[in-house]
Amino acid sequence: MPVTSQLFRGFPRAKLWGSSLFPCQRQLPCCPTSHRPTSSQLHPIWPTAMPVRGYRRSPDLHSYNLTPPQVNSILKANEYSFKVPEFDGKNVSSVMGFDSNQLPANAPIEDRRSAATCLQTRGMLLGVFDGHAGCACAQALSERLFYYVAMSLMPHETLCELEAAVEAGRPLSPILQWHKHPNDYFTREAQTMYFNSLRTYWQELIDLSSPGESLGPREALLSAFKRLDSDLSLEAQVGDANSFLHYWVLRVAFSGATACVAHIDGSDLYVANTGDGRAVLGVQEEDGSFSAHTLSNDHNAQNENEVARIQGEHPPSEKKTVVRQDRLLGLLMPFRAFGDVKFKWSIDLQRGVLESGPDQLHDNEHTKFIPPNYHTPPYLTAEPEITHHRLRPQDRFLVLGTDGLWETLHRQEVVRIVGEYLTGVHQRQPLTVGGYHVTLGQMQGLLAERKARASLAFQDQNAATHLIRHAVGNNEFGAVDHETLSKMLSLPEELARMYRDDITIIITQFNPHVVGHQGTWT
């Protein structure tokens, strides 16, 4: 049964051994407005729920055959497209628009995505966030990070105006125009707290800068990432009089998330990456084919520089323990992340915060668990690695994806699939016979296969959906196979995580009429 081999290709995919700090999230929607956990649900899953045996069970017991429309409705449930509006029939932006989508494996999904246009400054922000140990941290990033970036980019004068407006109680002019799918939500209860933290940040920015000054995109991204992470940490330490909010900030801080964010302004593309998300540029070669140009480095054990960095930041005595089994302290897969205060705070601070925290935390064994060999915190940082790329006419699109995508498809394959999808069938790399011995029969078979592949593209109106279809449904020949797709999508919630991770994708298409034809805007 070839499908079985497909299904067993996965390893346990939990990003953090021990999975979730707040296992109750499995049963409840993540939205805290409805979150009223009862103590019966608060049982520690560490270490009993190590997902070791689960995937040994026969998947046949749990797989159903989905019809193609059912498959489509699952794949398309979270798809979203945005087209940059045209003025006078012209799109003067370097971005034509983007397609995004996500496919859950966790229940609820721990990935988040954000997209917004900066209104006070120029440029567009796009980001994917991969949460672990719950979705709280990723959710917070998806709501807050772009505000921090937008603030950091603002010139001194704009910040002053903003402050003056708040001071005088005047309405603020909007800072970001969000492009959200209906399922992308905001945590309403926390908005005041978020706003106060943000205001403190911009007040500091005003103090630190002088008139006429603003940060460049690189500094702005760096500052925003670090500041938000420290605010997450601080909010958890301070707590809140409202017990729900207090509980919420602790959930955010004790969970973690990676972030991969792109800022596109004219021909300048900045990618800020923290963790193992990835930004890959689709470059169209002169012959029409597509090649992948990676704009970020993964922060995990596969990256030697990262391993060296972490080992260098701690005493030689910890060299063997700081990275074990390709995980940070033997526990965490990404080597950089937001939140995850268990890897950042001192043991005393962790204990102190937990003791003063809401009652719900007290029964949680996991909170009391201190990572082994925890000697010289912090072990983890949210500091991003920032790449700058000047867009050229041949740069056609940018794929931002969480690691769920990249571990199923090679980046070259990703770029090929998206490139062929976006340019349509006719732009596919043309076949040439030139000198090879090909019989008419062989050619017919080859063409039939190409035709079948092309017809799939017409099912999807969204490039990200098309990519997910391939990521989940590819068979050993690199072609989407309905049976595989159906089996993968019909896995029961508790099994899905064994075979695939949450996948979140944003595909941004560049405007070839603008890109490469203009001077620097910044």
């Binding site: 043309p430 016979v433 090909v438 019989t439 008419l440 050619m443 017919q444 063409l447 190409r450």
Partner: protein
């Protein structure tokens, strides 16, 4: 690099010619021609020393385009005795489409004039090698047109009937016989085939080369690597051609530039519209089969599979005409880029599958190459030939619709005749460039239309198909109004005309989808419309008709029309005259109605597709007199035709109520008898009279009718129509219209001498009406046009149009018959020949007995007597 060479008997001694031609230094150094037709001469390492021979400063004819078409025109002109012919080619001879085309010469073409051209080309190419000593690769392979279904088989049988008329051999055969003729064909899904033993294959560049050699032998100067920039004109005449190597003064210019003909036309001082557009066309070359395919293997045309296959160097050459063609965007591109056209295997996939289905053994055969060959297509799948309407001396021959090789010989001959005698020796109206107007040469229209035309080459063509793309170029102001009332539309000369009106509640979809050679689904609908025309009154929108106004200060207008028209136009003001405009031979150039509006002002109503042709005919004969003014007012008037016994009542009431000049200032109302004595018809020229007519007509049972009803009426009344029955080779005497010729005056109109001569000699062909007997309308195939007519078992003519007569409840065919010639000279038609023969009409191989008639049925004129008084009010009939 700008080398040029001349092939001319002036520059070269004739004895040296063949050798020099073979080794002429016209291939650029280091570049090897990339054609698939490699012949040894191409590889000869020529010494590249030839200096460009200067262009002559003047010539009689300059031909632009050194492909097979241009060289054929040069060849035939030279044969007809023309001198000072210069042929210019921007690249090398035969380097365009000719270099790449598949080399099949087949007579299986949709219309007879095309079959004739292909047949002539075939015999020309066959003897070319003999004439010039140049090898042409001519092999008389024969060809097989396969039918996968009964409808296709019927269309092949119809083709066979037509070819029989022309004396071209062909056999309708069974699938089993196909496998005897071709070793590879899978016959399991075939219902039959047509075998054309005369068809051949050639090597197109070699034929091109042979024609050039022969032309050069006759004194034609050929200059390669010379680009025509534009054509200069003065007072509507060609004066010179401006090339990149200087100007050449000339009287005639022939645009044979193939897919660049459109751009070249646009590049002249007065723009010439050459409506064609290029599409990519693909064919596959295989390596030799394990057991090499014999060169004499017949060509296979599997039109249901959209492919053709011929033997090629032991393997096969197979291409096709796909459903989704790729137009070429040629704007501003030069000739060199043609070579960069890409192979597109994904595009070829359906044709490859069809090929392997037809010849499964080819599966193991290796691919040599997929060739992408540009082909030019026109809006109606027929080539573009003849003198352009606006410019004297500017001729065009282009837009070959992927049959360039098959047509080049015959088309070149006809064009040369046209230039020599003023008209070819056959009726080429279906190919005449004047059938198109400016609207049909817009780039967008062409791009859409050629996407439909290319697949149409191999589509099953049933009677009365209409183009679907590029529609609504011109519409009547009533279009929307009629459309909401269920009108189904056809297109003529870009104009939308209602075919019939679908009654409310009928299933529209099923009506539009059906295609058949048998009784069509609109039968009852049209029947009801005809009935209403006969018993009450119908209104037909005839706004598409071409309308001209000719005015003068003095009697110049009358003088001109008296010269051009066969009938006497010196009638009282307000009278209408039905007349032909004849050529020198007495043949119809136009058949129109002329109204004398004022003493010196005439209103000319012609068939829709005469718009360009009639205009240029009038212009050509108009004296250069500023007092004489011709205006095309087709778009100014909406024409409503009220037809039926109650038409007079409707119109009478309408005039009484509101048809005062204040209400309808532009109203121009004439009682006239257009097609048929017996049905009173009115043409009302006015905008928005329609609503009035419909509301007044309600109590008389008025309804809309379409052209199908009108056609049925005109055919049962034995009324000939220009473009269908009448052509430039048909005289009024041959179609029983002596009464419309002013023989009794001594006015010397155009064609008078020929007619007088013919009257003396007697006509050798006669327009007759055939009423089919023993033909089951429900079950038998319907006639269309082009069916052979047999008299006492002997072929004697063909039909030109046909319709079901709802009055006679029979099929009526109109057509021409001629008695067999006894001593080589044509025999005159006698009444006995018509009345005392047993006639049969051959529909797809089945003969149906028919009653021949010289005059329409008098029973159809029952109402005429009733309306006699009104008839006499106006002098309808002329003399």
């Amino acid at each position: 690099m700008h080398c040029s060479c001349v092939w001319s008997s002036r520059a070269l001694s004739p004895a040296l010619l063949p050798r020099l031609l073979s080794h002429a230094g016209c291939w650029a150094p280091g570049t090897r021609p990339r054609g698939i037709w490699s012949s040894p001469r191409r590889l000869a390492s020529a010494v590249e020393t030839t200096q460009p021979i200067p262009l002559p400063s003047q010539a009689r004819v300059v031909i632009c385009g050194g492909g097979i078409v241009g060289t054929s025109v040069a060849y035939h002109l030279a044969k007809l005795g023309w001198t000072e012919i210069v042929l210019l080619e921007q690249g090398r001879l035969g380097a365009g489409t000719t270099r790449l085309c598949a080399g099949i010469v087949s007579v299986a073409k949709p219309i007879s004039i095309e079959c004739k051209m292909a047949d002539y080309s075939n015999s020309l190419y066959e003897h070319l090698e003999e004439e010039t000593g140049v090898k042409t690769g001519y092999v008389k392979t024969g060809s097989l047109c396969l039918a996968q279904n009964q409808d296709r088989f019927l269309s092949l049988k119809r083709l066979a009937s037509r070819l029989n008329v022309m004396g071209i051999p062909c056999n309708v055969i069974k699938p089993k016989e196909v496998s005897k003729l071709h070793p590879l064909v899978n016959i399991h899904d075939l219902v039959g085939a047509l075998h054309l033993p005369g068809d051949a294959v050639v090597s197109p560049p070699d034929v091109n080369h042979a024609l050039a050699t022969a032309a050069a032998g006759h004194g034609v100067q050929i200059h390669e690597r010379t680009t025509v920039n534009h054509v200069m004109m003065e007072k509507g005449h060609v004066t010179a051609v401006e090339t990149d190597r200087g100007a050449i003064e000339c009287e005639y210019f022939v645009n044979c530039a193939g897919q660049w003909a459109y751009e070249l036309g646009q590049a002249s001082e007065t723009k010439v519209s050459v409506p064609l557009h290029g599409c990519e066309h693909f064919y596959l070359l295989s390596k030799p089969l394990p057991e090499p395919l014999q060169p004499s293997t017949p060509v296979v045309m599997d039109m249901d599979g959209r492919i053709y296959v011929r033997a090629w160097q032991g393997g096969v050459l197979s291409g096709g005409f796909e459903k989704n063609p790729k137009p070429i965007f040629t704007e501003g591109r030069n000739q060199l880029e043609i070579q960069t056209m890409q192979e597109d295997w994904d595009h070829f996939e359906p044709m490859l599958s069809a090929l392997l289905r037809r010849m499964p053994e080819l599966e193991v055969c290796e691919i040599q190459q997929l060739v992408n060959c540009p082909e030019s297509f026109t809006p109606d799948m027929r080539c573009l030939m003849g003198e352009t309407p606006g410019v004297h001396g500017y001729f065009v021959l282009a837009g070959m619709n992927a049959s360039g090789l098959a047509f080049a010989g015959g088309a070149g001959k006809y064009l040369a005749e046209w230039m020599t005698y003023g008209y070819p020796t056959a009726n080429v109206w279906p190919l005449d460039i004047k059938r198109f107007g400016n609207l049909q040469s817009s780039r967008t229209f062409l791009r859409h239309r050629v996407m439909e035309v290319m697949p149409l080459l191999y589509n099953l063509k049933v009677p009365r198909w209409d183009f679907q793309t590029g529609r609504q170029l011109r519409t009547s102001p009533l279009y929307d109004r009629l459309d909401t009332q269920g009108a189904r539309w056809m297109e003529k000369h870009g104009f939308e005309r209602a075919k019939y009106f679908i009654p409310a509640g009928k299933d529209l979809l099923s009506l539009d989808a059906s295609k058949t050679f048998y009784k069509p689904d609109w039968f009852d609908i049209v029947g009801a419309e005809v009935k209403c025309c006969k018993e009450a009154v119908c209104v037909i929108d005839m706004s598409s008709f071409t309308k001209f106004e000719l005015t003068s200060t003095d009697d110049q207008a009358l003088a001109l029309l008296q010269h051009l028209c066969a009938n006497d136009l010196d009638v009282p003001v307000g009278h209408i005259v039905h007349t032909g405009m004849l050529n020198e031979r007495g043949g119809y150039e136009n058949d129109c109605s002329v109204v004398r509006v004022k003493k010196n002002s005439f209103f000319i109503i012609s068939p829709t597709d005469q718009q360009v042709h009639c205009w240029s005919w009038l212009k050509k004969h108009m004296p250069d007199d500023p007092q004489l003014h011709l205006e095309d007012v087709s778009w100014k008037y909406t024409a409503l035709n009220l037809i039926g016994p109650r038409a007079m009542d409707v119109l009478g009431e309408l005039s009484y109520v509101s048809m005062t000049p204040e209400h309808f200032p532009s109203l121009f109302c004439k009682v006239r008898n257009l097609f048929s004595p017996g049905h009173v018809m009115f043409i009302v020229y006015a905008l928005h009279v329609y609503n009035e007519v419909m509301s007044v007509g309600q109590k008389y049972g008025i309804r809309n009718a379409g052209y199908y009803a009108l056609r049925s009426l005109r055919i049962e009344k034995f009324f000939a129509f220009w473009g269908q029955d009448l052509d430039p080779f048909t005289t009024p005497l041959e179609c029983g219209r002596e009464f419309r010729v002013k023989f009794d005056t001594d006015i010397d109109f155009l064609g008078r001498a020929s007619l007088l001569h013919q009257r003396q000699e007697g006509v050798s062909r006669r327009f007759i009406m055939l009423v089919l007997e023993d033909h089951d309308t429900e079950l038998d195939l319907w006639p269309w046009w082009g069916e052979p007519i047999y008299r006492n078992g002997e072929l004697c003519g063909t039909t030109t149009s046909s319709a079901y007569s709802y009055t006679l409840e029979r099929h009526v065919c109109l057509g021409f018959v001629s008695p067999p010639s006894l001593d080589g000279s044509p025999a005159a038609v006698t009444p006995d020949f018509i009345n005392r023969g047993d006639y049969e009409v051959d529909i797809a191989g089945q003969r149906y007995p028919a009653k021949a008639k010289l005059y329409p049925f008098s029973s159809l004129f029952a109402q005429q007597r009733r309306r006699k008084d009104e008839m006499e009010l106006s002098n309808f009939q002329g003399k």
